[in-house]
C-alpha cells in the first residue's frame, strides 16, 4: 500500500506541471485560414461585385417569366413557371445583405460616411429586389445571429425601410466628412460619390414607381426623385466584368456554344423586335443575338422546347458577340434608360404628356446608344410611325413596350410585367404551364427549401399566385 501512496503523490506533481505547461502547447486554435476582421475596402469590393451577381442570378430566372428567354427543352421547370426552390439566389442576396450590414456597422464606427452612404443605398437596392420577388422576408431580426429563426417582416413595411435607407444613404453622402475615401475598391463607380448620390435618387424613383397599382402612388414624388437622378448613360450603375472572371451570361453563351444548351431567346422578345409584332425592325436586336444560319431571327416558344430544331444554328441565342453576353460585358444594375422610362410613366400618370413623350424617346435613344446602334439606324427607328407616335397619342402600352426592350435580362422587367399584368402584345402563358397556376402567369417565387427547412415556423404559406403587396388587382 505504501507504494500506492507515493505514486499518487508523484502523479499529482506531474498533473500540476502538465496543467501549467500545456497551456501554451494548446493555444493553437486561432484560425490560420480566415481573418477575424475584414477591411472596409475588402467588404466594399465584395458587396459591389456580389450586387451585380444578384442581378444576374435573379435575371436568369425572371427572364423566362417575362419571356426574354425560353428553354430549348420542353417543360423545363423555370420556363413553365414551376414552384422551384431558388436557394442559391436567395443565398446570394442574403449573403450580400449580411456583408452590407457588417459594412454599415463598421463604417459607422470608423466615421467612413462615404462607405456608410453607399452601404445604405446598396442595402436598399438588394432588399427591394428580394421583397419584389418574395414579398415578406426577414430583415429586422436578420444578419447578426441574434435569433436563429428571424421573423418575416411585412413587405409593405419593408418598403418604408427601403426609402429610409435611401434617404439615409443620400444624407450620409451629402455629409462630406468621411474619414476614409471610397476608391477602386468600389466596382460600380470607382469611388465617384456624386454618381452614388444620383443612384440614390434614381432608385428612389424606381421604388416609388413600383407603387403604381397602390393608393400610395405619387407620380410627382417619382418625378422629383428623377430630377436628382442620373444625368446620362455615364451614370449607369454597372459592374464591368473581367478577363479573369467572365460575365455570367458569357458562361451561358459559351456553354450553349458547347451544346450545354441555355440562353435561347424567346419567341416573344424576338417577335417584339424583328418586326413581327410591331412592323418595325428594332436594330438593337443585333446587340441581343446573332442571326441564325438562315440570316434571320427565330425565337423559341416558352415551354415548348425547340421541337425539330437542331441544337445550334436554327434559333436565336445569346453569344459572346452580343452586348449582354460578351466575356467582359457589364452587368447593368440601374441605367439612365430605365430612369427615362420611369420618368415617362410617372409623367404620363401625372398627365404630363409632353414630358412623358420626351422621356419615352430619350429612353429609347439612351438604350440605343448603350447598345452602340449607329445614328442612321437609330433615326430610322425613332422616326418610324410605330415609335414616333407623338405626345398626344402616347399610351402606357408604348412606354411598357419600349421599357421591355431596354430592360433585357434585368429582373426589373418582371416587376414591370406584373405591374402591367403581362399585357405585352403577343404574350401568352407558356406551353406545358405549371398546372398549379391554373392558366395564369406566375406572381411570386416560392420560398426556398433552405427557409422552409430551417425557419419553418416563420415562413409564410403562399402560392405562386399570391401577390407582392404592390401588385394589387
Amino acid at each position: 500500500m505504501k507504494n500506492f501512496k507515493s505514486l499518487f503523490s508523484i502523479s499529482a506533481v506531474c498533473l500540476f506541471v502538465l496543467a501549467a505547461g500545456c497551456s501554451d502547447y494548446l493555444n493553437i486554435n486561432t484560425d490560420p485560414n480566415n481573418p477575424t476582421e475584414a477591411p472596409l475596402s475588402g467588404l466594399m469590393t465584395n458587396v459591389t461585385f456580389e450586387t451585380s451577381q444578384g442581378v444576374y442570378s435573379l435575371g436568369s430566372i425572371t427572364s423566362y417569366y417575362v419571356q426574354y428567354l425560353a428553354s430549348p427543352n420542353p417543360a423545363s421547370p423555370t420556363d413553365i413557371q414551376d414552384a422551384v426552390s431558388y436557394g442559391d439566389t436567395w443565398f446570394t442576396f442574403y449573403d450580400v445583405l449580411t456583408d452590407l450590414a457588417v459594412l454599415r456597422q463598421k463604417a459607422k464606427e470608423e466615421g467612413a460616411t462615404e462607405y456608410l452612404g453607399v452601404a445604405k443605398i446598396l442595402t436598399a437596392l438588394n432588399l427591394a429586389t428580394v421583397v419584389d420577388v418574395w414579398g415578406d422576408v426577414p430583415y429586422s431580426e436578420a444578419f447578426f445571429v441574434e435569433t436563429l429563426t428571424p421573423a418575416y417582416d411585412d413587405d409593405q413595411q419593408l418598403y418604408n425601410t427601403i426609402f429610409e435607407l435611401l434617404d439615409g444613404g443620400i444624407a450620409d453622402l451629402q455629409a462630406g466628412n468621411s474619414t476614409v475615401d471610397l476608391g477602386e475598391d468600389d466596382f460600380i463607380y470607382q469611388g465617384d460619390t456624386d454618381k452614388w448620390l444620383r443612384l440614390g435618387y434614381m432608385l428612389k424613383a424606381r421604388y416609388l414607381n413600383h407603387l403604381s397599382k397602390t393608393a400610395n402612388y405619387d407620380a410627382v414624388a417619382v418625378l422629383a426623385a428623377v430630377d436628382n437622378g442620373f444625368l446620362n448613360n455615364d451614370d449607369d450603375a454597372q459592374v464591368n466584368y473581367f478577363e479573369a472572371y467572365r460575365n455570367p451570361w458569357a458562361n451561358v453563351a459559351i456553354d450553349n456554344a458547347g451544346l450545354v444548351l441555355g440562353g435561347w431567346l424567346s419567341e416573344q422578345v424576338v417577335n417584339h423586335m424583328n418586326g413581327t409584332t410591331y412592323g418595325v425592325f428594332d436594330p438593337r436586336i443585333e446587340a441581343f443575338t446573332d442571326t441564325t444560319d438562315s440570316g434571320t431571327y427565330v425565337g423559341t416558344r416558352n415551354g415548348d422546347g425547340r421541337g425539330d430544331a437542331p441544337p445550334a444554328g436554327a434559333r436565336s441565342v445569346l453569344t459572346v458577340n452580343t452586348f449582354y453576353a460578351a466575356e467582359t460585358a457589364p452587368i447593368l444594375i440601374a441605367t439612365y434608360a430605365e430612369q427615362k422610362f420611369i420618368e415617362a410613366e410617372a409623367a404620363f400618370r401625372a398627365n404630363q404628356q409632353t414630358r412623358a413623350y420626351n422621356a419615352y424617346l430619350a429612353g429609347i435613344e439612351a438604350h440605343m446608344d448603350k447598345m452602340g446602334v449607329d445614328e442612321a439606324a437609330k433615326d430610322a427607328y425613332l422616326t418610324d410611325p410605330a415609335v414616333a407616335v407623338g405626345a398626344a397619342n402616347l399610351t402606357l402600352d408604348h412606354i411598357f413596350k419600349e421599357k421591355y426592350t431596354a430592360m433585357f435580362l434585368h429582373p426589373e422587367a418582371w416587376v414591370d410585367a406584373r405591374r402591367y399584368d403581362y399585357q405585352y402584345q403577343g404574350m401568352e402563358v407558356p406551353e406545358n404551364l405549371n398546372p398549379q397556376l391554373d392558366g395564369q402567369f406566375i406572381r411570386r417565387l416560392r420560398y426556398p427549401d433552405s427557409e422552409t427547412q430551417r425557419n419553418s415556423e416563420n415562413v409564410p404559406d403562399v402560392t405562386l399566385l399570391d401577390r407582392i403587396w404592390w401588385d394589387q388587382n
Binding site: Y25, P138, F143, V145, T452
Partner: protein, 1042 residues
Amino acid sequence: MTKLIRGTVGLIALLFMTAINLQAQQRTITGMVTDAESGNTLPGVNVFVRGTTVGTSTDANGRYELTVPADADTLTFTFIGFEQHHELINNRTVIDVALQPSVETFGEVVVTALGIEQQQRSLGYAVEKIDSEELTAAGDQNIVSAIQGRVAGVQVTNTGGAPGSSSRIIIRGYSSLDPGANNQPLFVVDGIPISNTTIASDDTPRSLSNRAIDINPNDIASVSVLKGAAAAALYGVRAANGAIIITTKKGQAGDVAINFKNSVGFDRVNSYPNFQRVYGQGFSGVHDPNSFWPNWGPKISEVRANINPDWRYYEIWRDAFQTGVKIDNSVSVSGGSQLATYYGSVSNLMHEGVIPFSDFNRTTVRFTGAIHPSDNLSISSSVNFINSGGNRVPADRFMERLMYWAPNKDVTDYMKDNGTMKGYYNDGGSGTNPIYDARFSTYEDNVNRVIGYTNLNYNFTDWLSASYRFGIDYYSDQRTNITPGPSGIAGENALSSTGFIREYRINSRDITSTINLMIQQDITEKLSAELLLGNDIFDRNFNQVNAFGNDFVTPNFYNLSNVRDISTSQYLSKRRLVGVYGDLMLNYGDFLYLDITARNDWSSTLPEENRSFFYPSASLGFVFSDIVDLPEFFSFGKFRASYAQVGKDAEPYSTGITFTAPAQYPLNGQVGYTRNQTIGSPNLLPEITTSVELGTNLRFLEGRIGFDFTWYKANSADQILTVPISNATGGTRLITNAGEIENRGIELQLNLTPVQTADFLWDMSLNYSRNRSEVLSIREGLETIFLGSQFGYSTGDASMYLVKGEPFGNIYGSSYARYYPEGEAPEDPLYVDKDAPILIGPDGFPVVNTDQLVLGNALPDWIGGIYNQLSYKNVTLSFLINIQWGMDVYSQYDNFFTAFGITEITLDRNEFRVFEGVTADGQPNTQRVWLGQGVGPDGVDYGAGFYRNTYRGVTENFVKDASFIKLRNIKFAYSLPASILQKIPFRNVTASVSATNLILYTPFDGFDPESRSGPAGSNAIGFTGLDHPGVASLIFSLDFSL
C-alpha cells in the same frame, strides 16, 4: 433467392449425414475418462479414432464404448476446458484416461484499451474479438467491411461497390447529431491510433476511401471491438464512439514461416431495377431521335414498324458496366529466437471496378520486430508503408448520364473516329456519354503513408513496470482532377466548354505519445490490485493546398501552366490533446472484478476556460458460477455492469466569427471579403456521453452453448452541432452546444458448437442487436435541425431533420394529401397517415401535400448475423448471413426513373385510371383520367402527364423499405492433408473459392439496397443518391506456406 437458402440448408444436412454414415464397425473398446486434477469422472467427453469420424462420447458416469475399425491406431479425447489427449490403442480393449484441465478455463484473452491483454471473464463491459481467419474469409480489402455482420451492435454500411470505396462503421447508434460529426470509432493498430478519415471530393461523391483501407487485412492477427464508453474511456475523446483495436501479426520464436496468399476475384452488379423496354426517345409520345428526352417517345416497336426499321432497344444499364477484377497477392515472413522476433510482409492489390475506368491499387510493406536484450527490457518497433489510390469515377454522374441516355442508342459506342465524344442525340453531337466521361474526365488520388511506432517496456520489479510508446501516422494524398476542354475539332461534343485541372496536395501528420506505469500488488490473499497511471498526447497537423486551373490554352495538354484562369486555396488545421488517466483494477478471489478509471483531457479546440474536462468510469464483473452451485449443464455464468462517461471536443476553429476572401479574387487588383457562412461560438463546451451497461455471459454444456446479453443506454448531452440556419441570420451554419440524444439497445450473441468430432466440427454464432434513439432536446429557439437533403424532381426531394422527441434517422418529404372528415385529424401530424384515404383533386389526380412529413426511418429496427463454419477433415465451408431489418431509404433513383419514364412502373403511361381515394366532399373518386402526355384520347390536355405532373413530385413514392438479408460471404476451402504435405516442401496449402454480397431477400426494387452515395463521414444516411450499384464477387484463393 429462396432457392439459394434451400440449397444451403440442404448442403448442411448432407454434410451431417455423411458424418454419421461414415461409421464402420470392426472391434469394440471401452473405458472411463476422469479429471486428472480432481479424479472425478467426466461425462460428455468426445472420443474418436484419430483421423476418422468414428467416435462417441462418455455417458453420465464418464464411461464410453466405441467400435473401431481394424486399422485404427490412436484414440483422441476432447472436452471443453481440458487439453486434447491422444492415446495409442496398442491392441487394448479397455482404455481409461485422465484429462488435464486446460490452463485457462473460459479464459479467452482480449486486448482492451491501451493494448492491455485482459481475460474476458474479468471485464465489466462487452468486448468482442474477431480473429484473422474470420476477418479475411470474405476477401474484403477494407478492414471496416470485413467486420460487417460479425459483431452485435455494430452496423457497417458500404457506400457502394466502387474499388476502394469507403465503409461506415457505427457502434451502438449515432451519438453525435452533427451532420458532419465523426460517429465512427477510433482505429488503433498495435496501440497507435491511426487516421480513418474519409476526405471526400469537393464536387460530386467519388467513392473515396476511408483511410483504414490502408491496413492490409492479411497483416492482422485479431481485432477487438470496444463498444461502450467504459471500454474506450482510456483512449479519451477520440474513442468516444468506441474503438477498433487491431493487433497485427508478430513473429514467433522458432522456425522461419513464409506465407503466400494469392487471390483473384470477379465483380458484377448484384441487382438491377426492372426497366421498361417498350418506350423510346421523344416526348409526349412523339418519336424524335434528336430529343433530349430518352423515354417519353412512342413504342419502340411502332417506330421500328412505321418510321425506322433500325430503331431498337439496348440494355444500356447492363452494357455500361463490365466485370470487375481484383487481384490480391501478399507474402509474409516471420520467425525469431528467444532474443528477437520479426514479421515482414509485402502485399499488392489491383482492383478494376464494374464501372469502366474505375480502379484502386494498394501496395503495402510492413516490418515489425521485437528484441529482448535483458529479462527486464523489451523493445519493439514497426514500420508500415502504404501506397494506395486510383481513378475515382463519380458513380452519381455516371448513373445520372445513364438516366438521360436514350435506350435506343448504344452506350458503349462512345467515341467518334476523331476521338471526340459521341452523345445520344443530334448525331452524337448532344448528350454526355457516361463511359467517355469516365475515361477522360479523371480524378486520381495517390496516397503515400507511413505508420510506425516504437514501444519500450521495462520491468523494474515484479510489481512495477513502465512502458513508453511513440507512434506516427503520416500521409500525403495527391489528387489530380482533369476534365478536358474542347479539342478544337469542328462540331465536337465536348465534356466541358473550357476544361479544367484541379490539383490537391494533402499532408496529414499524427503523432501520439503514451507513457504508462503499471503496479501490481496482492493486497490480501484473495484481493489483488493493478493500477495503471498514464499520460498521452495527440498532435495532428493537417495542410491542404489546392490549385484550380480553368480553360486550357492548348487542347489535350493538362498542366496548370496551360490554363487561362488559375486560383489557389489553402486549408491548415492543428489539433492537440493532452490526457492524464488512471485505471485501478481490483480482483477478489478471481470471481469478482472491479475496474475504476478516471481521465482528464485538455483539448486545443475548445475555448481556454472550457478546455479541461474530467470523466470517470466504473465497471464490475461477477463470475457467479464460481461461487454458486449450479446444475451440471450450467458451466459458466457471469454478470457485468458498468457506468461510464466520455467527452468529445470540437473541430478546430469552431469558436469564432471570421471573414474569408472568395475564390474569384483578386479582380482588378482588389480582394473582396465576405463574412464566413459558418459561425462559431466563443463559449463551446465539451460534449459528454454518459452510458450505463448491464450484461451477462452464460455457457452451457461445457461451453458448447454460449450466450451473451447486453443492455445499454447512452445519453450524449451538450452536443456540439453545426446547425444549418436560415441564410437570413447572417450565416448558413452555426456551431453550438445543442441538445441531447439517447441511444439504448440490446445485444445478443449466441455461440454454438452443434457437432464436434475429431474430423467434423461445426461452429455457429448468431448475433442480434437493436438500437433505439430519441432526440431528447435541441437548442432553444430551434424546433428542428436540418441534417441534409437530397434532390428530387419537382417537390419529390427528401430531407432529414432532428426533431425533439423523435428518433434519429427520420426521412421527411412531400406526400399524397389525405382526406379527413370534418372535425377529424391525423393521429400524429408529424407522420404520413398511410391509413387515411388519399384526397383526389377536381382534376381527378391525387393532391400533393408538400408539408414535410415523416415518411420512414433510415436506421434498421434490428441487425443480425449468422456465422457458420463447418470443417470436415481438410474441407471447410463457412458462410455469413447478414440481416439489416426494418430500415427505409429515399430512393433518388426512383424519382429519376419515373421523371424520365425509365422503369416498369411507367408502362401504364398511355392508360386511363380512376385513382383510388376520395374527393373533397368525402365521396369515392370516380373520375377517369389519362396518365399520358399531351392531349389524351378523351380530348383533355394532360400536359407533361401523370408521372411528371404528379408522381415524381411526391417523396412518399420514393421512400422504400430497404431491409435485406444477404449472404455476406460463403467460402469453401480445401487444405492438402498431412500425408501429402509430408512429401512436399510446404507446411500448408489451401485452395478456396468464395462468393460475397449475394442478396438473398429484399423488398427493395432496384440496385443493392445497401449502397449510399454519401461519403462514410456523412451522417445524412437516408438517401441512396445515384449511388454506385452494389456488386457481388466471386473469389478464388490459393494460400500456401513454407
